[in-house]
Amino acid sequence: MRLPKFLRNTSLVVGAIISLAIICCAIFAPYIATHGIEQMDMRNRFAGPTLTHWLGTDNFGRDLWSRLVFGARISLTISIISVAGSAVVGTVVGLAAGYFGGWVDMLLMRITDIFLGFPAIVLALAIVAVMGPGVFNVAFAIFVVAWTEYARVVRASTLVLRQQNYVQAAKALGASNSRILFREILPNALGPIIVLASLGLGTAIIAESALSFLGFGLPPPTPTWGWTLAYGTRFMRDEPWLSIVAGATIMVTVLGFNLLGDGLRDILDPRQLTRAGDKK
């Protein structure tokens, strides 16, 4: 028996498994964690992996596995909020720019270029510095640069899709602009948006952990991944395990979302989407 197309894509399958595992860890953290995040075990400080402490412990004997599992909640929450915000705003901007064209397109794309012109981490740091730490503020800081990519990609898709026969037909039938944009064009532009969102989750996780690593994420005792990694650097010379495991957790998670995004890109090739649009 031949496997369905999406199951034959290694990137997609591996990426989906890793991403699902991390999402499950975040959702079911209280059931998966073996210890409380602040529960100390001073006899087992800096312990290596054991049956009791799967990933070892930190300088207070706190269970690293449990802290990383709860850390997944924070990383994913911030990433999902920022990606959802970026996708919605970027999509609306891209749709409007591509569909209306003319001065609307020029104005919106110039604004997009301006935000794209700032190194993401620098602008994010500045925003967190002025707004203060907090889940929403950190997510907002990541969003401010991230939406631009959706805007550019959705604009490009819209420019192609607005020429399609079914869009012209909807126009001729007197459909309103919002109906054409959201009922005719958007469903056919969803492929690249889904791919970008998957890749964006990885980028957002790196950005959030970078802010936490530099000390501008959520304040302790919140066990964010970036902070756990930064905290581990204090003992880097003698006990590098702490930082290595925290960093590997971030990398594997980002790898999962990147592979998922790459796999989805193979399946939802925009060119295939356009051809599908022709047939409609």
Partner: protein, 326 residues
């Protein structure tokens, strides 16, 4: 070409104005009284009133924005709140170190990325291709600061081969010293920059290698490559002289754009390796909530990025006539 250069330069003006507005807008994001927030809880009412006056907070926002523009046009970025020095001077003192780090990283990333990408493409489907692309996937997924820490742990802490922190003599001066018979100065600078630049380059090298592979695979299927082989040319010559030259064209613009990512990444790398550049200054400014300095740094990064984009576009247009005529 001249018309393209002028058009491209004119396009930069609204972009720069927009960037200034965004940078200025940072002040508006501060909840409550910015002066009180910036100075902290222990500040006296007098110092808060003084800062309000210095930052012009008593004026409406559009007057302040106008003043900010006027100030910038005179090359003035304001006064740092905590370092009692002009922001422009503080930034100018740090800019060289960051540009040096970013340029060396870009060179490293380009060399590593192109070599790996070409190897993967000419051995498509082999173990080399799989290993290279796996490496690239890991490189893209790896946080730059973790990469830095791992390199530091391996080469500075465990093996003791390279210095873990700090900067040697600035590279240009070191090259000068080497020319005048003191090569050890240059050697010391190279040893210092190796770890931070490698850490910073890893991500870009991964991105470049994936692009070079895709681009090479496309070019290797072209008729002129088959013709070159048919003429009896050696494989190495066909790959380097015929295929690579054409495959690199689309990669060039991406290499230029990576410079922006490297500048951003420098903030993290510099803080790990205590590299005395703009990135480290950013962390200090943000820790102290020194708003004029933060605004100056953000704007400087944006302007450098815009200028690099401009140069890349112009170079690209010079190489490929389709761009300037299209």
């Amino acid at each position: 070409m001249l018309a393209y250069v002028v058009r491209r330069l004119l396009l930069m003006i609204p972009m720069l104005i927009g960037m200034v507005i965004v940078t200025f807008g940072l002040l508006l994001l501060i909840p409550g009284d910015p002066a009180a927030v910036l100075l902290g809880q222990e500040a006296s009412p007098e110092s808060i009133a003084n800062l309000r006056d210095t930052l012009g907070l008593n004026d409406p926002w559009y007057v302040r924005l106008w003043d900010y523009f006027a100030m910038l046009l005179h090359g003035d970025m304001g006064q740092s709140i905590f370092q009692s020095a002009p922001v422009a001077d503080i930034i100018a003192g740090r800019l060289g170190a960051t540009i040096e780090l970013a340029v060396v990283s870009l060179i490293l990333a380009s060399i590593i990325g192109i070599v790996l990408g070409v190897l993967a493409a000419i051995r498509q489907g082999s173990i080399i291709d799989t290993a290279t692309m796996l490496l690239a996937q890991l490189g893209v997924s790896m946080p730059v600061y973790w990469m830095g820490l791992l390199l530091m742990l391996a080469f500075a802490v465990q093996l003791g081969w390279l210095p873990s922190i700090g900067r040697g003599t600035p590279m240009l001066q070191a090259i000068g010293a080497a020319v005048t018979g003191r090569p050890q100065v240059l050697w010391d600078s190279i040893l210092h920059i190796l770890l931070p630049s490698l850490a910073l380059a890893a991500n870009s090298a991964a991105v470049i290698s994936r692009l070079v592979r895709t681009s090479m695979l496309e070019v290797l299927r072209e008729d002129f490559v088959r013709t070159a082989y048919a003429k009896g040319l050696r494989r190495g010559r066909v790959v380097v002289r015929h295929a690579l030259r054409n495959a690199l064209l689309p990669v060039l613009s991406v290499i230029g754009l990576r410079f922006g990512a490297l500048l951003g990444g420098a903030v993290l790398t510099e803080s790990i390796f205590a590299w005395p550049g703009l990135g480290q200054l950013t962390i200090t400014a943000i820790s102290q909530r020194d708003l004029p300095l933060i605004q100056g740094i953000v704007l400087t990064f944006a302007i450098i990025f815009a200028l690099v984009n401009l140069v890349v576009d112009l170079l690209y247009a010079a190489v490929d006539p389709r761009i300037r005529l299209g």
